[in-house]
């Protein structure tokens, strides 16, 4: 049977894929985990016999935190290396930069980050959550469980925080509750004393935070220093941007007590996850931590393998066709399934940060949440 | 400010400048005639250089007026003052060290002084000839295409004078032109000054009294920002006040 009709880099016993993340520049801080997860998944797949009997070889390229470099490298991977799939990107900007390239050359991108939604490409499988999946359940939970009435929205000044806060605001409005402040700081901002003062004055029940990068560290350290004790829960912090990876930089003592709304935490007790964490630590060292995005990145190669095997071919068109409905029962986060809109069905969980940098899971949605990248009524 | 018309080329009236309260030039009034070589002498720190700075717009006056051919200079920009016909040589020689001597002269050539003029400036025969002529005068003809940075102190002095000549100003101001020059060159300079003053006015600051005697039509002695005396060289030389503060016994 012909498994490769489109000239991809597939031989009798190997198949080439690409890994495209920033390992240098400012984004390397975040993307390192994804690279590790993708490599681990590929190695595991190879150890278990590969894909359609072929060993996966990866070509790694550095996006260097620079969007045209991402575009350039993706073009190289697709045109010169003819890879069968690419696992990569982290920021929306990098994804937007490579998207036309993937569409033009009909490549397949597995994109791991939780992101703002508003996108659905036939050439991308989104293995992280889109914004509504992550946010709505989180807000519902603080309202139900913590009786929150007022919210202060705070984020870095770019598209994901702005879109997330927009969704949050709509949802809060719908619930008849109140947003008492909304504010954005430039990426890389390190001084949050003024906004902390405002928070103190307006006394919101919840600080809904989507600060990213180095700013994140500054924000939590200064919040803590200013005497806002998150362990006392008033105001409580609900973040959508702080994974275990970030806590590493912030320091557990500075975020202790904050709540995070995501689909995955390293501390998930299920068996899949325990095996995953063990394998990850064996491969990358004992003191490593695993965050939401890292897990989502880990899903990429497995989802691709499943789709290829279902299609019986590496051809991108066939893989795409086979993708909707693919499910993974072995996913560390539990069970996932690809929606026809190329996003994943997933549960949303609320974790509470502990001083050791891990999250204690305090809540989990009963059902898988349907991905809805263009949410009606939230735009 | 009295704006009466004068026949003088340069009329400086009631000029005052103070630096943080220190009056470097104090209520100075000075007139320079057509075709005259005026020498200003005076002790170190008397304010001579400052007067030139004021005339050419490098320092802004606190008070008073400077009129050049009945145009008020105090409000004009440096380049406008130069364009109106005032040329100046500095006390420490300053030339463009990254350019050749030829280019130094060419830059001073009074044509193409605005952006577009300079873009479409043509180095035609007149320009080349004029530059070579001046280079000859200042004894730098052989080094015409060498970088000006390589010149010795005295040669730079000459070059700067050359740059002024080619600029063809109506009022020429020289701040210690022969400092650092050897005897022969001093004499050459004196001759040169006499020659070029025929159709323009010259103000010279100098401490070398021999040189002053050679060139001066009239000497002004400045002391603490004020005029001490003014007159012919012989009179000034023998003035006891001048001997006291300046010449020494």
């Amino acid at each position: 049977q012909e498994v490769n009709t489109t000239g991809l880099a597939v031989t009798e016993d190997t198949v080439k894929v690409g890994i495209l993340h920033s390992v240098t520049g400012t984004m390397a801080i975040s993307e390192t985990g994804s690279v590790q997860a993708e490599k681990l998944a590929i190695e595991q797949i190879n150890a278990s016999g590969g894909v359609l009997g072929r060993q996966i070889e990866y070509i790694q390229e550095d996006g260097a935190s620079d969007w045209p470099t991402f575009a350039e490298k993706s073009r190289k991977l697709l045109r010169q290396d003819n890879v069968a799939a690419v696992f990569g990107c982290w920021t929306s900007a990098s994804r937007k930069a490579v998207l036309p390239v993937f569409e033009q050359y009909n490549g397949m991108l597995y994109y791991p980050t939780f992101y703002e939604g508003l996108e659905q490409s036939p050439n991308v499988i989104y293995t992280g959550q889109e914004a509504t999946q992550q946010i709505l359940a989180g807000i519902d939970w603080v309202v139900d469980a913590k009786d929150a009435k007022t919210f202060y929205l705070l984020g870095s000044d770019y598209i994901w925080p702005r879109t997330s806060n927009k969704i949050a605001r709509k949802h809060i409005d719908k619930l008849g509750l109140k947003v008492v402040g909304e504010e954005y700081y430039p990426l890389g901002h390190t001084q949050f004393n003024s906004v902390i003062n405002k928070i103190k004055l307006r006394k919101p029940d919840v600080i809904f935070a989507s600060v990213v990068g180095g700013s994140n560290v500054a924000f939590y350290k200064q919040l803590k220093a200013a005497g806002i004790d998150m362990t006392e829960e008033s105001p409580l912090v609900l973040t959508i941007s702080v994974t275990e990876d970030e806590i590493l930089g912030i320091g557990g003592e500075n975020v202790e007590g904050a709540y995070a709304s995501m689909k995955y935490f390293q501390s998930l007790p299920n068996e899949n996850n325990q095996a995953f964490v063990k394998a990850f630590k064996e491969r990358w060292g004992d003191d490593i931590v695993i965050g939401d995005v890292t897990q989502a990145a880990y899903l990429g190669p497995w989802l691709w393998k499943a789709a290829v095997e279902k299609a019986g071919s590496f051809d991108v068109d066939k893989v795409r066709e086979a993708s909707p409905g693919i499910e993974l029962t072995t996913a560390p986060e539990g069970y996932v399934k690809i929606h026809p809109n190329h996003h994943l069905w997933s549960k949303t969980r609320i974790g509470r940060a502990k001083v050791d940098g891990q999250y204690e899971i305090v809540y989990e949605t009963d059902e898988l949440i349907e991905p809805d990248p263009f949410p009606e009524g939230y735009q | 400010m009295n704006a009466s018309n004068t026949d003088f080329v340069l009329a400086v009236e009631n000029l005052t400048v103070s630096f943080d309260g220190f009056k470097a030039v104090d209520d100075l009034t000075l007139y320079v005639d057509e075709g005259e070589i005026r020498v200003i002498i005076g002790p170190n720190g008397a304010g001579k250089t400052t007067v030139l700075d004021l005339i050419c717009g490098r320092t802004r006056s606190t008070q008073g007026s400077i009129r050049f051919r009945n145009r008020e200079l105090t409000k004009m920009s440096e380049s406008a003052i130069v364009q109106s016909g005032v040329g100046r040589k500095f006390q420490t020689p300053s030339v463009y060290t990254d350019l050749t001597i030829f280019e130094n002269l060419e830059i001073s050539y009074p044509r193409g002084r605005n952006v577009f003029g300079s873009l479409f400036f043509k180095r035609d025969e007149t320009v080349i000839r004029k530059c070579e002529e001046v280079a000859e005068m200042i004894l730098l003809k052989d080094q015409l295409h060498e970088s000006a940075g390589l010149l010795s102190h005295g040669q730079k002095q000459w070059l700067e004078i050359g740059m002024l000549l080619i600029q063809d100003p109506e009022l020429l101001m020289l701040d210690e032109p022969v400092a650092g020059m050897s005897v022969t060159e001093r004499q050459e300079t004196a001759k040169l000054l006499r020659r070029i003053s025929e159709n323009r006015s010259v103000i010279v600051i100098e401490h070398d009294m021999q040189f002053v005697a050679e060139i001066a039509d009239k000497v002004t002695v400045l002391h603490q920002g004020k005029i001490l005396t003014e007159g012919a060289i012989d009179k000034v030389k023998n003035d006891p006040k001048v001997i006291e503060v300046y010449l020494g016994h």
Binding site: - | F19, G42, P43, N44, G45, A46, G47, K48, T49, Q91, T92, L150, L151, S152, H153, G154, Q155, W158, E176, A179, G180, M181, S182, V183, T184, E185, H207, D208, M209, V245, Y246, L247, G248, H249
Partner: protein
């Protein structure tokens, strides 16, 4: 005191000073004369270590200074007043003089310097760059003397100074020489000044010594003839 033999200095490829030999006795004042561009300043700068020497030997008080860093030469007892003054223009007059104290370890400006140049005392808190040309020249001399040198190199020290002070400087230099046992090498254009201070006159031409004479035997005409070719 200062001994220079077969001394050569070049800028890149072009040699400016071609194998100079001369000796300056302790307590002697030597004037180096010559027309513009003949290499006087180049010689001074090289002796001070400001530009590199390319050959020969130079000793100060019997110890070689050849190839050493400027500040080592100062420590050995050399001081320098450059042509064009080169004072530190954004520092005050006092600070300028204090830079000269580095090699001596003294902290405050010796009073006799101010006595020598009273203007400087008056203007001690003014920025060096704001002084008039002649005042700067006096400052440069004071700064050099502050290091208490054995040999003082003066490059056209009278440039821009008023006649009365020139006379005083000549006087003062001789006084210092007598008081402190200073040795002085001075380049000069003004013949009268040279004749007044110097014990001996050297004339350089194109980087070579072409004439040498003690003051006692010198007449102005003759030197002048060397200077005007």
């Amino acid at each position: 005191m200062l001994n220079v033999s077969d001394y050569r200095v070049s800028y890149g490829q072009s040699e400016i000073v071609h194998g100079l030999d001369f000796t300056v006795q302790p307590n002697e004042i030597v004037a180096v004369m010559g027309r513009n561009g003949m290499g006087k300043s180049t010689l001074m700068k090289a002796l001070m270590g400001v530009i590199p020497e390319s050959g020969g030997a130079a000793t100060l008080d019997g110890k070689s200074i050849f190839g050493k860093k400027s500040h080592d030469r100062v420590n050995q007892g050399l001081a320098y007043v450059p042509q064009g003054r080169m004072i530190f223009s954004s520092m005050t007059v006092r600070e300028n003089i204090e830079t000269g104290l580095t090699s001596t370890g003294r902290r405050s400006v010796p009073k006799d310097l101010y006595d020598m140049f009273p203007v400087l005392l008056e203007m001690r808190n003014r920025r060096g760059g704001n002084l008039s040309g002649g005042q700067q020249q006096q400052l440069a001399i004071a700064r050099a003397l502050a290091s208490n040198p054995k040999v003082l190199l003066l490059d056209e020290p009278t440039e821009g100074i008023q006649p009365s002070i020139i006379k005083e400087i000549a006087q003062t230099l001789k006084e210092i020489r007598d008081q402190r046992g200073l040795t002085i090498v001075v380049t000069e254009q003004v013949l009268s000044f040279a004749l007044e201070v110097a014990d001996r006159i050297l004339v350089v031409e194109k980087g070579k010594i072409v004439h040498e004479e003690a003051r006692s035997s010198v007449d102005a005409e003759k030197v002048a003839s060397y200077l005007s070719v």
